[in-house]
């Protein structure tokens, strides 16, 4: 009976799944008590201050991670950790100040002698380069190399994936076609950047943008030598302008960087460059990674996605001194598309905001340490102009519990006193988001709102919740998402979420379909403002206007539990790097 055997085989495979699931539990529980106790300088010692300050050079700084870069090409990487790590082998005109926490939001000159000389009402930025800037082969870094590097952003057909802010700001009409299609013999045809001599570079903006220097601080503005540019393969071995050069790299496996002999500390006020060697090991199992970190085999989690559930308990109980718990800059939230009934009515939106149990949502996100602080509004504390105390819907009242009375009142005003039925859309590959959806569902059921959870394929996000037609047809009244800033200003965080020009037919991020000329005007006003403190005030007002629309239910200002090895010196988390350590400052004890 061949058919019978087939069926047994199917059975066997199925049983194997169940048994494997059972077996994995066998390896648990037995924490290794022999490990040396954490000798770290203490819980949160690297948050807001420098832990183990040191100037001692030498040793090997060992990174470990579970996720390789989208690309190590400075113009193509978009993952946050790439922007941090890329500073080992790239330099920028200006960069974030090497200081803990908030201090890192300030921009300081890197290859430039000073921050920009701004003239013509914010349309002209001029920089002069330092002396002694060298590539890894000893050739000087010129303004032309910087211009060429930036021009590579225009070649989106070859070098896709990176941030395109500079392209949008310098050439909004898309007139330049990129260096690979450039007819200029030197491939420097972009008119918006001028290089009068090797030491001077001038940017000419069609329209002022107060965040322009933030964009120049991204690794996407790093120089690339034209004769070393290997196009789409450049990310396999970038040519170093920073303190370290590439020795070897195997994708998803390992990377080794050693000192760039031509980099001089005298020409670089930013990077400490303490270790002699930087290594990176990539594995696939994040629990295994946590174990190796806790054991002390490695120093830093490259991705800094946080210690997993399993490692967290051990780390918090036995090695609390090796734990940092910084803000990541992300907000985790639910958003209500105004195109889906009954969320076209502000009172129904308010009912959900009041009815949600924020404390339970926080627990679902991972609690106060693993998840973050209960969020009060839609501007994270790492952004200038934010005010976590601004709590228009009383998220912190009643210890984060729901405000049932106000929720019912809002339901009445909405004309649905007995509640209504809606759908929560959630990415199926994010278990924590599904957990928050279940929490929201449970608390909403108490005020009569029946919310069905619709998990969708997370890899299809831009085509599903990013498509307003799909959202409307599938009746997604509540969408669960998260968002972090590309650069720590109101423009860098909020604009894609609330500005009407970001309402797109595909890949939309303005899920609520917020289309208010008054809010749009605030962005125009803030962009034209060159004083960042004044711009911050405008963003504060913008945030209030957004909050009053009641289209967002923020869950948490995300925090992360990250592991700081006892070997690390000169460690601090930086707002500018989404709460990761400033990698370029790290050193090791031996």
């Amino acid at each position: 009976m061949t058919t019978h055997r087939t069926s047994k085989r199917r059975l066997a495979i199925g049983s194997a799944v169940a048994v494997a699931a059972l077996l994995t539990t066998a390896g648990c529980g037995g924490g290794d008590d022999k490990e040396k106790k954490g000798s770290g300088p203490g819980y949160n010692a690297a948050v807001g201050k420098i832990a183990n300050p040191s100037e001692k050079k030498g040793g090997t700084l060992k990174f470990i991670g579970t996720q390789d870069a989208d690309s190590w090409d400075p113009q193509r990487g978009y993952y946050g950790f790439v922007w941090d790590y890329a500073r080992f082998y790239t330099r920028q005109l200006i960069t974030y100040k090497p200081a803990p926490g908030e201090g890192s939001q300030e921009l300081v000159p890197d290859m430039a002698t000073a921050t920009a000389k701004i003239s013509e009402g914010g349309k002209r930025y001029e920089y002069t380069l330092r002396d002694g800037l060298k590539w890894q082969d000893g050739k000087p870094i010129t303004s032309k190399d910087i211009k060429y590097g930036i021009e590579r952003i225009w070649a989106q057909d070859v070098l896709s994936g990176g941030p395109i802010y500079l392209k949008e700001v310098l050439d909004p009409k898309g007139e330049y076609k990129g260096p690979y299609k450039d007819k200029d013999p030197e491939k420097l045809g972009l008119k918006a950047i001028e290089t009068p001599n090797d030491k001077t570079i001038v940017f000419k903006l069609p329209k002022p943008n107060g965040d322009f220097e933030q964009m120049l601080a991204m690794p996407a503005a790093s120089p690339v030598p034209k004769d070393k540019d290997t196009g789409s393969r450049y990310g396999q071995k970038p040519f170093s302008s920073g303190p370290y050069q590439w020795v070897s790299y195997e994708s998803n496996k390992s990377m080794v960087l050693t000192r760039n002999p031509h980099w001089k500390k005298s020409s670089d006020p930013v990077r400490k460059a303490l270790p002699d060697k930087v290594t990176l090991t990539l594995i696939t199992n994040s629990d295994e990674m946590d174990k190796r970190l806790i054991k002390g085999n490695y120093d830093v989690d490259l991705n800094a996605t946080g210690v997993g559930q399993a490692g967290r308990v051990e780390a918090l109980r036995k090695h609390k001194g090796n734990i940092d718990n910084p803000l990541t800059g992300f907000i985790r939230y639910a958003v209500f598309p105004q195109t889906v009934e009954p969320f076209n009515n502000i009172e129904c939106r308010k009912a959900v905001i009041y009815g949600a149990d924020k404390k339970s949502l926080q627990t679902a996100r991972g609690g106060p340490q693993g998840g973050g602080d209960i969020a009060t509004n839609m501007l994270p504390p790492v952004v200038k102009g934010s005010d976590p105390k601004y709590d228009p819907y009383g998220a912190l009242e009643n210890n984060g519990g729901p405000d049932t009375a106000k929720a019912k009142e809002a339901l009445k005003k909405c004309g649905k006193p007995n509640g209504f039925e809606t759908t929560i859309a959630v990415r199926n590959n994010k278990p924590v988001e599904v957990a928050t959806a279940e929490s929201l569902q449970a608390s909403l059921s108490k005020i009569g709102i029946k919310a069905n959870i619709a998990p969708y394929d997370g890899s299809q996000t831009p085509g599903i919740i990013g498509n307003p037609k799909v959202v409307k047809s599938k009746n997604y009244g509540i969408i669960i998402m998260g968002w972090g800033p590309d650069f720590p200003t109101g423009q860098g965080f909020s604009m894609p979420l609330v500005h009407s020009k970001y309402i797109l037919n595909n890949g939309n991020n303005n899920y609520s379909m917020l289309n208010d000329p008054k809010i749009d005007a605030k962005f125009t006003e803030a962009e034209a403002e060159l004083d960042e403190n004044k711009a911050a005030e405008i963003y504060t007002e913008m945030n209030k206007m957004v909050s009053e629309k009641a289209v967002y239910l923020p869950f948490v200002f995300e925090k992360n539990i990250i592991w700081r090895s006892s070997r690390l010196t000169n460690v601090y988390t930086a707002h500018a790097y989404n709460g990761r350590y400033d990698y370029s400052a790290l050193g090791v004890v031996k």
Binding site: L11, G14, V17, Q309, A310, R312, T363, G367, S439, N452
Partner: protein, 335 residues
């Protein structure tokens, strides 16, 4: 039993069987069903399996009552400080995953839902999907198997090749992609109802060729039997032969196959739920509980053990019972 005497002629063996059955017949004259029942009763392991199956069916039917007496509503959150420790990522408070008088099997990490209630309600999903999918598969398999076996020729070729095609089809991948395009409301159902319907139809649809091939083979051999020829020569119609002569003789293999198909279906449902293609949250199912538990097994192992045990016990019970039924109905079958 390898005496050379016996392997010379098959007829002799048959004669022995007849001789063994003969005295029993003299005493009571039992029907084939009664004989099977006597054989099944003698098989203690199969009976034990059967009892567990019965118990599980009762649990599924009376889930609301059981939960009312011994547990909390399955979707109720207990994420307060006393039940889960939010500082430690939602680890259940207390030993053994928070097992206590209140929560017999402990609580789910993070949201503190009652594991006992969820395992009990999970029984419903598992059994409903497994039974209905098996019935669906058997229906299709019998219809197409009989048609293919009885009519032969081009009809047989078409049906048999279709079955081959379906057997080679990557079922799991198909379902995973299907689930992502299935609308939230369909066939007058919404939410988990849609998913359960889809699971039943899809698991059943990919299961029928297994039944179909057996039924076809049996039909092929049965239709050449003398009694069928006799009926044909007496002028019996097609319908009479199909329903009176063939189908009754197919009942035994179909029953056996169905009992063995149910545990396979339970595992398929669990695997699909594990991969996120099962019922939608917050509906409890064993596979979905296991997939949640994978993230937290190091801090709350008990939460993985209970749904895992439930799957294990159910599948084992159905398999033992199925094997017993097969032995009882078809004692000559290879084992």
């Amino acid at each position: 039993m390898t005496a050379p005497l016996h392997d010379t002629s098959a007829a002799e063996t048959a004669a022995v069987d007849v001789a063994a059955d003969a005295p029993a017949k003299e005493i009571s004259g039992r029907s084939p069903a009664q004989i099977a029942w006597v054989r099944l009763k003698r098989d203690k392991i199969a009976l034990a399996g059967g009892c567990v199956v019965l118990f599980l069916v009762l649990v599924a039917i009376f889930a609301p009552l059981i939960v009312d007496w011994f547990g909390h509503p399955p979707n109720e959150f207990h994420d307060d400080e006393g039940t889960v420790d939010s500082l430690l990522g939602g680890q259940p408070v207390g030993d053994w995953g928070g097992m206590s008088k209140d929560f017999l099997f402990g609580v789910e990490p993070v949201n503190g839902r009652d594991t006992f209630s969820r395992v009990v309600y999970g029984t419903r999903i598992s059994l409903i999907v497994a039974f209905l999918a098996a019935i669906f598969a058997v229906l299709l398999g019998t219809i197409f198997g009989v048609i293919a076996g009885y009519f032969g020729g081009i009809v047989d070729t078409v049906i048999s090749r279709t079955m081959d095609l379906l057997l080679a089809f990557p079922q799991l991948l198909f379902i995973l992609s299907l689930v992502s395009v299935v609308p939230a409301e369909m066939w007058g159902l919404s939410g988990s109802g849609v998913r359960i319907g889809v699971l039943i139809v899809v698991i059943g649809f990919f299961g029928w060729p297994y039944v179909g091939r057996i039924v076809r083979g049996q039909t092929l051999s049965l239709r050449e039997r003398e009694y069928v020829e006799a009926a044909q020569s007496l002028g019996a119609g097609r319908r009479y032969i199909l329903f009176k002569e063939l189908l009754p003789n197919l009942v035994a293999p179909i029953t056996v196959y169905m009992t063995l198909m149910i545990p396979t279906n339970i595992l398929t449902e669990a695997a699909l739920s594990f991969l996120g293609a099962g019922v939608t949250p917050p509906t409890a199912s064993w596979g979905q509980m296991l997939s949640t538990a994978v993230r937290t097994y190091e801090i709350a192992p008990m939460f993985m053990i209970f749904p895992g045990l439930a799957i294990f016990v159910t599948v084992l019970a159905f398999n033992l019972f199925g094997d017993g039924v097969r032995d009882a109905l078809d004692p000559k079958g290879s084992r």
